[in-house]
Symmetry: C2
């Protein structure tokens, strides 16, 4: 019909293709999985849940800016004790540096002032002045 328009059409399609390819690569970066566990104080369950049901947007933005994705926290009571389990995927290049950036963010520090007193760290975390104890991955299937 309008053969003169073909080169333009082809160019448009090419651009769309490149964008899609770029998105695909962006969606599948190198991923490292981090899982950790901590205790939750029984008297703080309601407050901890309330905080996380409506987490502060600035804190969430900082988490994403520090290359953390697919982040979940789960709760479980076992033999009268409460456990928190966290799972996230790290897609950045320097985990230590990104964690330092997060720790130096004033809004995140303010958030941790609310969450830290809810948690009951296990001995190995306590020794390092930390809240969460890292777990070891022993199986993964994509």
């Amino acid at each position: 019909m309008y053969p003169k328009l073909y080169p333009y059409f082809v160019t448009i399609v090419f651009v769309i293709l490149c964008t899609t390819a770029f998105r695909l690569v962006e969606k599948n970066p190198r991923v490292t999985r981090y899982a950790s566990i901590t205790g939750l104080k029984a008297e703080k369950v309601a407050y901890y849940k309330k905080l996380h049901a409506d987490a502060w947007p600035a804190v969430l933005r900082k988490i994403k800016a520090c290359h953390i994705r697919n982040y979940s926290i789960f709760l479980k009571e076992i033999k009268g004790e409460l456990f928190l389990f966290s799972y996230f995927e790290y897609v950045g290049q320097d985990f230590k540096l990104d964690m330092q950036k997060m720790a130096s963010d004033p809004e995140t520090q303010r958030w941790w002032k609310e969450t830290d007193p809810c948690q009951q760290p296990f001995p190995d975390a306590q020794e390092k002045g930390e809240i969460w104890s890292a777990m070891t991955e022993l199986f993964h299937l994509d």
Copy 2:
């Protein structure tokens, strides 16, 4: 140069585009996250690790066929006790049905005959004749 070839070229590009779009949709299905915890017997750690370092291909295929993705198992010792934590994403339409399919697979049953005696279920799982205790998600960030 060869304007007569343009329609063919456009068709090829169109097909590639459709395939990519289909892949994108396939990659982003509706996801439900499942996390659970169980105990691991100290004397079985080495064997449990060995099994999972080289899991049986038929079992892995069945897991995938039952719409489970991004499946990890983590290990943690706390106060002398060993915990296993599992995390996976379900992308199917009927979780209960898929779990029944998995449970009725002879190769998976054979695998569980190896793994079950390694694990030390918590009371709430034991009551139901199960191994893993489900956890409750209280936070998620994509």
